[in-house]
């Protein structure tokens, strides 16, 4: 075997090296940063549910807006809109055809968060929530974001979620230990806490 030199000659080796080395790195990164295994050129399509199957919950301090302490940005797959799961303003985000710029931008942001799970997108969502729920007031001191991944335990006969949360305090996002089931909601609410 005679090896030749030069960028063009190295290209096949570079491609093979990437195909060999990137998937395990991608596996580790997707697990650590919890981005969808379907993204960033890995080999994880169909290995786990895609980001679209995740749900996103946003937690705001209860004292600031008692009527909207927690809401879920969850797509209703039949009607095609995001809705609030509690609080009286259930229609706030009803977006049957994503008609306004705000709705379109929010839908795009949620899609990105579900798939990529990046703090920069959390910041954008937090800014949106600040403007939406605290107009003309100081931003919320703390905000929490919870992402859930669907699971089915066929032997036990249950469907449940693995949840992983992030809390913003004093401008920094910190990771909350992974949680399972509805306890995650109360745990996140306690992390976000009350306004000072």
């Amino acid at each position: 075997v005679t090896l030749v030199r030069g960028p063009r000659a190295r290209l096949p080796y570079c491609i093979l090296a990437l195909l060999f080395a990137w998937p395990p790195i991608h596996m580790g990164l997707s697990r650590h940063y919890r981005f969808s295994t379907w993204r960033y050129a890995g080999m994880g399509m169909y290995a786990a549910p895609d980001g679209a199957e995740r749900d996103v919950y946003v937690f705001l301090p209860a004292c600031a807006r008692p009527d909207v302490p927690t809401f879920a940005l969850t797509p209703d797959r039949k009607l095609g809109f995001y809705y609030l799961t509690n609080g009286p303003r259930l229609d706030l985000l009803a977006l049957p055809e994503l008609k306004t710029d705000e709705h379109r931008a929010l839908a795009s942001l949620i899609k990105t968060i579900k798939s990529l799970n990046r703090p920069s997108d959390f910041d954008r969502l937090a800014r949106w929530a600040d403007e939406r729920f605290f107009p003309g007031r100081a931003p919320a001191t703390s905000i929490g974001i919870l992402l859930t991944e669907p699971h089915v335990d066929m032997a036990a006969g249950t469907a449940h979620a693995e949840a992983f949360g992030f809390v913003r305090e004093q401008g920094r996002w910190t990771k909350v230990d992974p949680m399972r089931g509805p306890a995650a909601l109360s745990a996140m609410a306690s992390h976000v806490g009350a306004c000072p």
Binding site: V1, L11, M45, D153
Partner: protein
């Protein structure tokens, strides 16, 4: 008596990577792959005004590139504009780029840079063969590592809640299997998607659990095992046939037709002597699948 030293596995693989490639088989590989890209460009023609004009221009460039690649003198030049468009597509859709778009771009890059009869670097066909095996292998490992396959829950989620094609096809297969084996019928599916964070009860028959676990574990074992079996030279055509069978199953359930084209293009290179028959036949079958 000097005992001939059997080559180390790595040396053997390196020699395989540099093995000569049947020129006719390579032409068919390139023709099939560029034909696939042109086919999808033609399918994407639609709309009105500027988008329509751009789609027509793109398809024309792809057609001209594919035609030029038939000439031994202009083959690299023909592929270059197709590569440019593909790289633009990858950049424009990033980070939501579908993974096989990267593979397509890499293959185009190889076709653009390869000089027939001059290069002593691995032939694009050899890289495609090694690459597709690594893709299958790592896809199988990923399925195990993510924890959704050992107990069959990825497929269970599709069967129970997926209103899309994959869920529908899996349910159809389970129903058929159940009828043939006189097993209890499936409940009315798909179920409404529950709030997973709150939790929900899911009742599945034991036979459904067993079937999904068998299918699920069979999938990752085949993806990991078949590429490993490729290490033995004698068994390669049989293993390649097995991988083609696996790809047919993957295509049936997932409907990933663009990926199927690329996989078939790479796997048929393991049968260079019959390339003139297998490539046209496979192309027609895949086009029929896409249009049907």
């Amino acid at each position: 008596v000097s005992a001939a030293r059997s080559p180390h596995l790595f040396e053997r693989l390196l020699a395989d990577l540099h093995a000569p490639v049947d020129a006719v088989a390579f032409v068919w590989f390139r023709r099939f792959f560029l034909g696939k890209l042109l086919f999808f460009e033609i399918l994407s023609i639609g709309g009105t005004g500027l988008p329509l004009l751009l789609a027509v221009v793109r398809a024309s460039v792809f057609a001209a590139g594919a035609a030029l690649s038939e000439s031994s003198r202009w083959c690299r030049l023909g592929v270059a504009p197709i590569l440019a468009f593909k790289l633009l597509d990858v950049a424009a859709s990033f980070p939501f780029t579908v993974n096989h778009a990267f593979l397509d771009a890499a293959l185009l890059l190889l076709l653009t840079s390869f000089v027939p009869n001059e290069d002593k670097t691995p032939h694009p066909v050899r890289v495609a063969q090694a690459g597709i095996l690594m893709i299958f292998f790592w896809a199988g490992i990923h399925k195990v590592a993510d924890g959704y396959y050992l107990d069959g829950q990825f497929l269970a989620l599709r069967v129970l809640y997926d209103e899309g094609d994959m869920g529908r096809r899996l349910r159809w297969m389970l129903e058929l299997f159940g009828r043939l084996c006189h097993l209890p019928p499936l409940p009315a599916l798909p179920l409404p998607r529950p709030s997973f964070i709150v939790g929900a009860e899911v009742a599945t028959d034991a036979w459904v659990r067993s079937a999904l676990q068998t299918l699920s574990n069979g999938a990752w074992m085949a993806e990991v095992g078949l590429p490993i079996l490729m290490l033995g030279r004698a068994s390669r055509p049989f293993v390649a046939a097995g991988l083609l069978g696996l790809e047919v199953v993957i295509l049936l359930f997932t409907g990933e037709i663009s990926f199927a084209f690329t996989v078939v293009a790479c796997l048929l290179t393991f049968f260079p002597r019959i390339a003139g028959r297998t490539y046209p036949l496979a192309f027609l079958i895949l086009i029929a699948c896409r249009l049907g």
